[in-house]
Amino acid sequence: MDLSLSTRTVGDRTVVEVGGEIDVYTAPKLREQLVELVNDGNFHLVVDMEGVDFLDSTGLGVLVGGLKRVRAHEGSLRLVCNQERILKIFRITGLTKVFPIHTSVDEAVPATD
């Protein structure tokens, strides 16, 4: 299983739909996608992880990197995830405190904190 990526614009947010496995092999593709979006001026990202089957620390590193980039432009990076096995790795690493995690894209898009 490879990584699938697709992006769409909802209002002033860019939703990145990720599917498949994010690991040491596929994470660079996600990194490239996030870097490209930020370079193109998209600073408010919603990463939809509902289709993700596997996530490891390399993937977490890429998401943290994305967050750093958008924050440098006063932007935001929100995650959408309902899967317990994926949420668990965010909890173990303490990253639930770093990322706003939403249960749906509809909830994440209008969120401002």
């Binding site: 690991d23 040491v24 490891d56 620390s57 590193g61």
Partner: protein, 143 residues
Amino acid sequence: MATVELRFSALPEHVRTARLVAAAVARRSGVDEAVLDEVRLAVGEACTRAVGLHQSGGITAPVKVSLIEEEKQFSIEVGDEAPRIAPGDRVPGSGGIDVDAEEDEMGLAVISGLVDDVEVTAGEHGGLIRMTWPTTPPATALG
């Protein structure tokens, strides 16, 4: 001898194979279904770390994974051949951010968060991560 032994070139694309094999052997050994996701993640983290150590050290030797079925427990050993330099060679805070070291630590943090029984050893010939899970033997059909 290990129940199943796997050696793979230190390339990121093979880490997935190691995860799949480890999870399959763990399931067969009687590791609880609910824990298999953790086994998959932990072995992936250990292999990712080993691949990173081999690549950054220019080591051509393969990464070795041993899957060991024992009485009432199942162990996974992930071994690398990256020699550890003496403490002090890498001075923290000198120069830029050491991204490799950060990722390395995150991988280990995930492993220790996931696995209760884990041993990390390292020496001049390389390192070894040994992780152990309890197993329940499959119920016998005939008593």
